[in-house]
Amino acid sequence: MMFNPVLLIAIPLGLAFIAVIFKKIQKWILALGIIVNAVLVFFVEKGETAIGGFKIPFGISLVLDDFSAAGVILINILALAAIVIAFKKAEKFAPVILAGLAGMNGMILTGDLFNLFVFMEITAISAYILSSEGRKPAQSFNYLVIGSVGSVFYLLGLILLYNQTGTLNMVLMTEKTGFLEQTVLLLPVLLIFVGIAVEAKLLPMAGWVRGVLGNSNSYTGVMFASVYSSAALFVFGRIFSQVLVPGTTVGIVIITIALVTFAAGQASAFRSKSLRQVLLYSSIAQSGLAAALFATGFVFPAVLVVVNNAIGKLIMFSAAGSLEEKYGTDDYIGLGGAFNKNTLTGIAFTIAALSLTGLPLLFGFYAKLNVLAAYLNQGTFFVPAVVLLGTIVEGAYFIKILIKLWAPGKEGEWADADQSVGDKRIFSYTGTIAVILAAVLVVLSGLLPDTAGKLIAPEGGLLGDDGPAISLLIQKGGDQ
């Protein structure tokens, strides 16, 4: 039995409204909504669904192709994982989270640019509300202002395009903007880029990230770094690899911004001493990488990067948030040996970090391999060099953290368990189980890259025609 994809939006939305009526049981409604969505997402019909029964380029439609399917599956599963990790922290925001989930699903699924704007706003507002958990109203306010300015810019760009094309439908827009000159497109595309880049965490629009993510707890951290940012990146991918494919001039500008984001993110993470700050800068860097890939048209590698980053940051932010809640600090210098008595979470954290760095046999390795192959097949050497240099820096700061958290002890003396901070139970049981499952997923998909690749791109539909036929590059080893 396959269902209409609109249910992915309608069910959480309806439940959000219901949760307001029955405030007492809202946490169970939240759980129900998230679980139903996480199951339903595997049983939705592929293809284009019209809303309201109007013929497609004129009515609003939802597009569920390989790309958006990968997106919604990721988002809904991550949302489930996030509430499993910290249900207690989530429950008071039940309607907000449900509406936010609907917004994210809508963002990824929609085939209409204005509808996208509406869903982006839903998502953004739910994010503003969640950011208030950081108890830093000035940071939330900063986020809100940047988000509003971004959305105004997006709207301006969109309306300029509408004036030229008379349509808001993405497919038709692609077709009609094809006839327009680059000079005419330059301003609207840049404005739209700015609007999306706020949520996608690209510099310089990511000014809010440090304040918001740097004060996140184990729930909101996961939501921002993993769920929201993946959704925004999927939207970025949709727009800039399929709808408004940037021509060379706009493309160079966007890709430059994305690569600067990557480099600046890695460098900032390298210098940070606080765990959450390292992670948030690393997220920014990964967003930059994914954005550069999307804007170049390398969709599949970009999706791999997004997925890898999402799962990794899910694990790491939940751990960082829990550490902060326990010790009041997440300065990793002061948290020596925190994993010593919390081995399971430690292992999950390690796997996540290694996967982000691209250690072989973990999922991240295939992501990196595909990224490099995409560029080098095209004959671009500059970007792979930047990516690899970034990876060295990334590996450096991650191993610094891992060493600190695993092996306490003075320099010049053997690592000593007695010098480690803390208690046996820093992390909640459900949280530990969730992160372990996520880590197992990373390892399994690393060991069986083929299966994982098929899950992400069932018919190779993300690869495009001229892309290398590498669902996962690895098999080429023996073939020839």
């Binding site: 209409n4 609109v6 249910l7 309608a10 939305l13 309806g14 959000a16 409204f17 219901i18 949760a19 307001v20 009526i21 405030k23 669904t49 019209a50 809303i51 309201g52 029964g53 109007f54 013929k55 380029p57 004129f58 009515g59 609003i60 008071k92 925001f93 309607p95 907000v96 509406a99 936010g100 609907a102 917004g103 809508g106 204005f114 509808n115 509406v118 869903f119 706003e121 839903i122 507002i125 739910s126 503003y128 509300i129 208030s132 301006l156 300029l160 004036n163 030229q164 094309t165 008379g166 349509t167 808001l168 439908n169 000079t183 005419v184 330059l186 301003l187 609207p188």
Partner: protein
């Protein structure tokens, strides 16, 4: 100095916008025609799903949307999904206000208001309420609709707040009202999905263009939106007032 710089940058940005926009659309001229085959032209002719000929006010039966107000037909039918989202935005904002304001503590006391103000606002209140309801029930015929109507309802409550320092609306009641209205909207969509195969499809007969009972689900949607917007904005107002006076 900073301001001068900000001003210069804003001006530079404005110039770029000007240039960029005049590259695509004339800045001092307006469109002479709607673009051929644009969405708007189809919405006006109500022929998205097939040509039905000219729509004549008061004559055409069972047109595609049946709403005389084309903006309404766009909002509540062609792009009803946007509107659902828009309602959700407002819903989230109201929720956010109540979540955040609820966690704040006392503010200053309000001044006592005069007798005349209290009485006259008591007279105005039902008038405004009724006007609001009129506006959203006639949204498919005349300018206006759910949002203006809802805002009017909310402003009637705002009037009471301003006029009477002891007035307290029942926040919980508004929350329940908005929840129910929102749920009904989604349910309406799902009924459409079950009945017509499409979410939010206009599954009722649309009647004669221009009649009060026309437009299929459009008036229903607008009533829902009106109630919802009204209760949401009232909720926001109440929360902000409560936040100020909570002792």
């Amino acid at each position: 100095m900073k301001r001068v710089f900000a001003g210069l940058l804003a001006v530079a940005f404005g110039v770029v916008l000007l240039l960029g926009i005049s590259a695509s659309t004339g800045l001092f001229s307006y469109n002479e025609e709607l673009l051929d085959d644009s969405a708007a032209s189809h919405y006006i002719a109500k022929d998205v799903n097939g040509d039905t000929g000219e729509i004549i006010f008061g004559e055409t039966m069972d047109a595609e949307t049946g709403s005389a107000n084309m903006v309404t037909s766009v909002i509540a039918n062609y792009r009803s999904f946007d509107t659902l989202g828009e309602v959700t935005v407002l819903f989230l904002a109201a929720l956010g206000v109540s979540l955040l304001a609820g966690s704040m503590d006392k503010g200053r006391k309000r001044r006592k208001s005069g007798f005349i103000l209290k009485v006259s606002s008591g007279i105005l209140f039902p008038l405004m309420l009724v006007t609001g309801i009129y506006i959203f029930t006639h949204g498919h015929l005349t300018p206006g609709g759910g949002f203006p109507g809802g805002s009017m309802i909310a402003s009637s409550f705002l009037l009471l707040y301003l006029a009477d320092e002891n007035f307290r609306a029942n926040v919980r009641g508004f929350k329940i009202a908005e929840g129910i209205a929102g749920t009904l909207y989604v349910v309406l969509g799902i009924i459409g999905l079950l009945a017509g195969g499409y979410f939010l499809i206009n599954f009722l007969p649309t009647g004669v263009v221009g009649n009060l009972f026309s437009g299929g689900i459009i008036p229903i949607v607008y009533v829902i939106i009106g109630l919802k917007v009204g209760s949401e904005i009232t909720g926001i107002i109440t929360d902000m007032f409560n936040e100020e006076v909570k002792a």
